[in-house]
Amino acid sequence: MADDDIEKLLGGFAADTLTPEEKRRLCNTVLHDQQLFNLFADEQALKELLTDPVVREKLLRSLRETTSTTDGGNVSWFGWFRRPAGLAWTGGLTAALFALVLGTNIYQESLRQSDRLTTNEDAPLAAGSIPSPSAAPPTSSRITESEPKAQASPQQAMPVGKEAPLARRAKQVPATMANPKEEQEAIQTEPDKLQDSPQSFPQTVPQSKGDTPDVADQSRASAPLTSTSAPVPPKAPAIDDPTTQVGSALNARSLFYGESQEVVSSAMKEKQEGRYSVQEFDRPTRKGEQGARLTETRAETSQPLGIRYSLVMNGMKDLHDDRNGETSLRTSSFDLMIEANQDSFFQVWGEDGSLPLQLLFPFSAGDPVSSRLLTHQRRRIPILAGHRSIMIRLSLMPFETPSTMDSDVTTPSLRQHLQESSASLEAFIPQEQATYVVSRDPSASTLTVRIPLH
């Protein structure tokens, strides 16, 4: 120890615990250092106290008691807890425990959700109860299922003579949907019966080979405007080959709603989550709601231009008319409901015998606002009765101002279109017979559909 550090021996000097060597060095230094001497002289008072055995024992006892109370027991633990380090450890452990519990809950919840989704996806596919519109198995499977039933009940099966098996099956379909009330009840009350019910799938209404291969009869209505309480089912187009007709009819509807797997899977998911029936899935869009959802996920690039139309009698329901005040026309008018799968413009023309075509809607040929048709937004156009047929023109571009139609447009060819008719059970339009017409050419920007009324 350096001489400068002799001051550190003061404590030992007062307690008289210095070693002989320390004492010798201390005394030598003190004799030659007045300041140190003064310090040691002042320390004498403490040394005097500590020299007294009674005082020493008293101090010692006090220190031992203090040490023992702070050493062990609850007081010590509580003292450790009150220290900042203890508090930090406790807080950190609590936070870690909380984070662990929270993370575990979130992880389990995500696992549950994924399991639920997987179950929803797998179950229908395994059971084969919900068909894929793109693969078009529903109709065939349903038809296959309904075949024995149709054979068992001869009243329902229509005699079709010698026809191809597929065509015969296709013809059995309208017969099985003869009781629409029964069909609706089955959907609403017993979903399980849907699989057994042949009415719960889109109906293909092909016609025989000899009906009308030409365009004028391609969609001739079978019972137009004959009843005030029933929708107007347009006649399905004639086709050369029934097998081709079945396939193309299915494709017409699926093409109308988009052919990509994304659309199909999205729609199926929605159906599965909502536990809808197959018929609800196959049914056309419900008031634009499902169409809007499909629009979000639809692959827009490869979708051909398509239109969905149906005719509804005004007498069956008080429907909104775009032209207010013409209620007197409703007794002898019907509504044309149209819907396009792309943003487009449309015109409705009326054909009345030898007279030239007459523009029924919009009122002005150069009115792009009124003729605008948004994607999957259904429009209702009131049409006065009396026309032999009406013609719908659909175009991606606004129409030119001339209010006359070119001759080439008036003769649309069935080869350019795919067509399908299906029954719809929407709440506000029961038994709506909708027809889907989709252009075969994906690049086509126009589409013309002729609807015979008489």
Partner: protein
């Protein structure tokens, strides 16, 4: 260093120390009284390590005696001698009270010390030397113990009010 040389050196230190507390004349008288006691009553003490602590102790007693005499004579308050009680050879109640108060202050101050300082003081009161305390506190250097002890002493002095008296 022989005894005379030690006493001569001690005289200088004692006089300087006393001069800081009392007047020069009184300091010289005080120093002479200390050396007289060391020469007459402790003539057998010749070792340096014994003479120095002894001189500290004699000096303190002599200063306390001088303080009591001055107080008794009324040098501080100029009171009548007849009013003061006769001197008693044993500790009077005032000294006893003073010591008791100092002990109490010391106890209170020690309870305010940290755990390490209390341990250190406890071992010192138990008579353990610094090397022994070094082993008890498991320190490799004894200088650490010296430093800790110095800091604890200063801390205790602060709690005592800056003086051991």
């Amino acid at each position: 260093m022989n005894r005379d040389q030690i006493l001569a050196t001690l005289r200088e230190r004692i006089l300087a120390f006393a001069t800081l507390r009392v007047s020069r004349d009184r300091a010289e008288d005080l120093t002479q009284d200390v050396l007289t006691v060391l020469h007459e009553k402790y003539s057998q003490v010749t070792e340096l390590v014994e003479l120095v602590p002894l001189s500290f102790q004699v000096l303190r007693y002599k200063m306390l005696d001088a303080h009591r005499k001055a107080l008794r004579r009324g040098e501080y308050h100029q009171e009548s001698v007849e009013d003061q009680p006769l001197a008693d050879a044993s500790d009077n109640p005032m000294v006893q009270l003073d010591q008791k108060q100092r002990v109490d202050r010391l106890l209170t101050a020690m309870t305010q010390l940290g755990e390490r300082c209390r341990e250190l003081f406890k071992w010192k009161l138990e008579g353990k030397s610094f090397p022994e305390i070094q082993q008890l506190m498991k320190q490799t250097s004894i200088n650490t113990i010296y430093t800790w002890d110095l800091r604890c002493r200063r801390e205790l002095l602060t709690f005592m009010g800056g003086s051991w008296e």
